[in-house]
């Protein structure tokens, strides 16, 4: 379980002399085991900062962030991150990229390759093991990113607008594949997005954030049955939550200069 309590994060206090910017203020929430939580908010609400703090990539000054009651002090083997811009090594082929996390963690070469091939198959990239990232489409590149994260068999998957850089068709396809994947292997997922459809389609709960400073405005339950397919988009509950999100986000955007 991920527990975030009274978390605040300031930027720019150390040595550049500028006034500190409060990126996150008094954040409180929990993500239960095997739960899929999507996080949505206007730009500047600190959602990516929040994810990076949970990932252990940046420090925080106040509050508590813990995973199964162990405080987060850095990255850990139970977490893996999927990045918005894929973050693939351009010099390594698909196999090399997917084995990265395993090799860093000292898994023997034969074993890590076997595991990587399995995951490459799971994300539907069989036959592309020896291709370089630049030879792949954006959607395929992010599937490599997903396979790399899943390869280390994390308990928690942290996804930072993973489909944000993709075109609409690819994005919808990958959402469906992610849903199928998650049905098979229920990880705990924190998924940042700025798409309302995506937030409702994927999440068990949607966390709505407000900007400047970033705060949690509301946790919204998504009462849609699983396994979900595209059809849920037509259900009244889906439409209602989506509309509700839009009302809020619209008000936040309008309030900005």
């Amino acid at each position: 379980m991920i527990r975030v309590k009274a978390l605040s994060k300031e930027f720019g206090t150390v040595d550049n002399g500028n006034a500190a910017v409060l990126a996150l203020s008094d954040i409180d929430f929990e993500v239960r085991d095997n739960e899929f939580v999507t996080v949505i908010g206007p730009s500047g609400c600190g959602k990516t900062t929040l994810l990076r703090i949970i990932a252990g990539l940046i420090p925080y000054q106040q509050g508590e962030v813990s995973i199964d009651s162990r405080p987060v002090t850095g990255p850990g083997p139970e977490r893996a991150v999927v990045f918005q811009n894929f973050a693939l090594m351009p010099w390594a082929d698909v196999l090399g990229n997917v084995t990265f996390g395993l090799e860093v963690r000292g898994v023997a070469k034969g074993e890590s390759e076997g595991r990587a091939r399995e995951l490459i198959k799971v994300v539907g990239l069989e036959g592309f093991e020896r291709r370089l990232p630049k030879e792949l489409s954006g959607g395929m590149q992010q599937r490599v990113g997903l396979a790399r994260a899943l390869a280390v068999n994390p308990q928690i998957l942290l996804m930072d607008e993973p489909f944000g850089a993709l075109d609409e068709q690819t994005r919808r396809l990958l959402q469906e594949q992610l849903l199928q994947l998650w049905e098979r292997e229920r990880k705990t997922v924190v998924f940042i997005t700025h798409s309302m459809e995506e937030a409702v389609m994927l999440g068990d709960r949607v966390m709505l954030m407000t900007p400047r400073p970033g705060k949690v405005k509301e946790m919204i339950d998504v009462p849609l049955n699983r396994p979900r397919s595209r059809d849920v988009e037509k259900s009244p509950a889906f439409i209602e939550i989506k509309e509700y999100l839009w009302e809020n986000l619209r008000a936040m955007q309008a309030a900005q200069p």
Binding site: L57, P75, A80, F83, N85, A87, M89, A92, R105, K134
Partner: protein
């Protein structure tokens, strides 16, 4: 990086033939007897290589300075660039000195170096280093700086140690720029080698060049320069082959 095809070679040969024909044509119609034609230069090169034992001796002497000086520039220059690229305090210290080395004209320093180190190999090696090292260092530094921060963060997210980040992300990511520095550095090292021999330490190929020009044997002057160029091209192509092996993923930016 694309492989050089047969067509490339055919085009290159065509350019070469055109240039040589122009050279030959222009000089056979001019009254300037001091400039050698291409055919005279070619004959001189043949004589130099096959009938002039002093040429090989000179080549050997010059290459001592070149290879030792260049190797030292690589061994010192790359780690310095790596550190400057990643360790900010190190960069703050090194930055002004790299700037000085970059803009400083080296030729006027040659006499100073010779006063300090004497007329031997040490001076020549040092001067080759003065010519070459800064280009290797600043390119390496730029290469490290150019590595995507997202990749470093990705590595950290999997719990990679600083050593693993160096080995798996920074060095491979910086390799194309490092190779660019190695190529520029090699060109500069060759310049340094010839310059010191021409200016003050009459040895090696520089001495040969001085002798030939003193005797107005311009065809042999050209031939000697040609020999230097051919050696440089051979060294560059070895480097390119190496680059193709270890950094083939990068867009092709190499010259030579």
């Amino acid at each position: 990086m694309k492989k050089t095809t047969f067509r490339d070679w055919a085009s290159r040969l065509a350019v070469f033939a055109a240039a040589v024909s122009l050279w030959e044509l222009f000089l056979s119609h001019s009254q300037n007897f001091l400039l050698p034609t291409f055919s005279h230069t070619a004959i001189a090169l043949f004589n130099l290589v096959f009938q002039e034992p002093r040429f090989w001796e000179a080549l050997y002497i010059s290459n001592q300075a070149l290879l030792v000086g260049y190797a030292a520039s690589v061994v010192i220059g790359i780690p310095m660039g790596l550190l400057a690229g990643r360790v900010h305090n190190m960069d703050r210290i090194l930055n002004p000195y790299l700037g000085v080395l970059l803009v400083m004209p080296v030729a006027p320093l040659i006499p100073v170096v010779i006063i300090a180190l004497g007329l031997g190999l040490a001076s020549r090696v040092f001067i080759v280093m003065l010519f070459a090292i800064v280009f290797i260092t600043i390119n390496t530094r730029a290469g490290v700086r150019g590595v995507e921060p997202a990749l470093i963060e990705m590595a950290q997210s999997f719990g990679a140690s600083e050593a693993q980040i160096w080995r798996r992300i920074i060095v491979p990511g910086a390799l194309p720029a490092i190779f660019a520095g190695l190529r520029i550095g090699l060109g500069r090292a060759i310049t340094g080698m010839v310059m010191v021999e021409l200016l003050l330490v009459a040895s090696g190929l520089g001495r040969l060049l001085l002798e030939f020009s003193g005797r107005m044997q311009s065809d042999f002057v050209f031939a000697t320069l040609l020999a230097v160029i051919i050696e440089a091209l051979v060294l560059l192509s070895i480097m390119q082959a190496l680059e193709r092996k270890v950094a083939s993923w990068a867009p092709d930016i190499s010259v030579g």
